[in-house]
């Protein structure tokens, strides 16, 4: 694990610096870093502190927590296909966020936005865990995910279409695909406390997930409190996915691809995978966010487009493999 982190953390750092140096305003990296850290005259400090910094911070936070939540859900359900985006958790969080915005609650009380998204995510995770049962069959999981995504997506669309605001109807793309463009520090502060709570909750599940490798009965006989473990996974995942989705929309596949790629590095153990996945998720989302700006600099290309292009083949590969296992 330490070896994997020794590689991933410098990568994350390098990608953060690259992301900070990227933007329509053509300035060198040292110059932009100076403006970021020391301030100064002119518009550059504003650009660095209010536009680029929140973008990088959100990519780090959201990517990291998506990787973490993906690893936690997979470990808990003992299924490599479990992923918040695919299973409709993010879509349900988006529905919660849209409801908060459209009812005007979030305008009156800013925290209502992440709270409402969190509530959407909790409902989705609970439905999934109940449906999946003690031994999460791939088919059951995916079908439950399809149903949840469809319902959440349809309701989100309904709410946006009923809005008196002419722009609302076109926002379904943002909520379904996610974007980090033009976010501000306000969004960072809005998401941070919930992500911190979520990370704290998920930080304690490593031992339990390791034990769950042997199944629920064996884990329970090794002193793992399964009810508490489940509560931590549900609330932790909902906290981070809810907060992330509330400010950046539903970004899929990060929680699927990253744990899958890094599982071998930690010898398959779900506990150490949590932290390695967090670092990998941050790297993946930073890279995706850099890519959307390089591929289409003057269009707001959605992050989810890129993560899906990378992630969907992995998903198909995993489905193919789980099909082979059953046959």
């Amino acid at each position: 694990m330490t070896r994997a982190l020794a590689f991933l953390l410098p990568l994350v750092l390098a990608l953060s610096a690259l992301s900070l140096s990227l933007g329509p305003a053509d300035v060198s990296l040292p110059e932009s870093l100076r403006a970021l850290l020391l301030g100064g005259d002119g518009p550059l400090p504003l650009v660095m502190r209010e536009i680029r910094l929140p973008r990088v911070l959100l990519a780090l936070m959201i990517g990291g927590t998506l990787g973490l939540a993906g690893a936690a859900m997979q470990g808990y359900l003992r299924n490599p296909l479990a992923e918040p985006g695919l299973l409709g958790v993010s879509a349900s969080a988006a529905l919660g966020a849209v409801l908060a915005i459209q009812t005007g609650v979030s305008a009156a009380f800013a925290l209502a936005l992440p709270l409402s998204a969190l509530a959407g995510a909790v409902v989705a995770v609970l439905i999934l865990i109940v449906l999946a049962g003690p031994r999460a069959e791939t088919l059951t999981l995916i079908l439950a995910g399809v149903a949840l995504s469809a319902v959440a997506g349809a309701l989100t669309q309904l709410v946006l279409n009923l809005s008196p605001n002419p722009f609302a109807a076109s926002e379904i793309v943002f909520w379904m695909m996610g974007s980090l463009a033009d976010r501000s520090m306000l969004h960072v502060w809005l998401a941070l406390p919930f992500m911190a709570v979520g990370v704290l909750l998920l930080a304690g599940v490593g031992r339990g997930l390791d034990a769950l490798t042997l199944g629920e009965d064996a884990a329970s006989s090794m002193g793992i409190d399964l009810a508490r473990l489940r509560l931590r996974v549900v609330l932790g995942t909902a906290c981070v996915v809810g907060a992330g989705t509330a400010v950046a929309g539903a970004i899929g596949f990060v929680g699927l691809v990253v744990p899958h790629l890094l599982r071998g590095v930690v010898g398959g153990r779900p506990g150490p995978l949590l932290w390695v996945s967090a670092a990998g998720g941050a790297a993946m989302l930073l890279a995706a966010d850099i890519a959307v700006r390089l591929v289409a600099p003057d269009r707001d290309l959605k992050l989810g487009v890129l993560t899906a292009l990378v992630g969907a083949p992995f998903f198909l590969h995993l489905v193919w493999r789980s099909r082979g296992e059953r046959a």
Binding site: R78, A218, G268
Partner: protein, 245 residues
């Protein structure tokens, strides 16, 4: 000193009474075989004893905190579940989880006892069924508990692996541990257990030395079979022959 004592234990699952009023004590140096027909409640009895399912009566283990219990008994469920491709040595190390240490000695001892030295770096999901069973048993050994409980530990194993597995339990008992196993193979039970418990008709039909439990009458009552039996220098031999009329 008893490692497990059950008093008037009873289990009801989905409204159906599985068994009732079972009292049983297991001490060190015993290999107790739990036998009985399908559906007699062998698995339920062990899970209730562990406190994994609700039950009436009393089990000395169910009263412990989960952490205390994990140091008192190691449990091997029948399903040999290995969810992730962890290395064999990492799998065995999971046995140290209840102790919260990373002690290498018990892990190495368990690996050696189960003859897994050559497999320690292999992915456990790539092993054969017999190898997986050995790795999982090694995990339970690494837990270093006075009592070991295993549900059908020999199911799906070839005869050599069955014998090897039963011999490990014998060794454990000789070292002072107590062992409680559920078994379907009466021959294996007669040959390797120091004591048998026959569970049938929702209660404990018999409890005693193998020859005392595997009588013609009890076999007919409990399993509905007749068996051939003989005494050899290596111990008693039982072979089920016919269904009882």
């Amino acid at each position: 000193m008893s490692l497990l004592s059950l008093e008037n234990l009873s289990v009801t699952l989905r409204g159906r009474k599985v068994f009732s009023d079972i009292s049983l004590t297991i001490g060190p140096r015993e290999v107790v075989g739990l036998i009985g027909p399908n559906g007699a409640g062998k698995t339920s009895l062990m899970r209730a004893a562990l406190g994994l399912i609700p039950s009436g009566g009393r089990s000395s283990l169910a009263g412990l905190t989960p952490q205390q219990r994990a140091k008192a008994v190691a449990w091997m469920p029948q399903a040999r579940e290995i969810a992730w491709p962890v290395k064999v040595e990492d799998l065995v190390s999971l046995g140290r989880l209840p102790h919260g240490d990373h002690a290498q000695a018990p892990v190495e001892a368990a690996i050696a006892k189960m003859g897994l030295e050559g497999l320690r770096k292999r992915r456990s999901t790539n092993l054969s069924g017999g190898e997986q069973a050995r790795a999982l048993l090694a995990r339970a050994l690494a837990q270093e508990t006075p009592l070991l409980m295993a549900d059908e530990p020999t199911a799906g194993l070839d005869p050599a692996h069955q014998i090897a597995t039963m011999e490990v339990f014998g060794t454990l008992a000789a070292e002072g541990h107590g062992v409680l196993l559920s078994l379907h193979d009466i021959g294996l039970a007669a040959r390797h257990c120091t004591r048998l418990v026959l569970l049938a008709e929702g209660r404990l039909l018999a409890d005693g030395a193998p020859e005392a439990v595997l009588t013609d009458e009890l076999l007919a009552r409990g399993f509905g079979i007749t068996a051939y039996h003989a005494q050899t220098p290596d111990g008693p031999v039982f072979q089920p022959m016919h269904r009882a009329r």
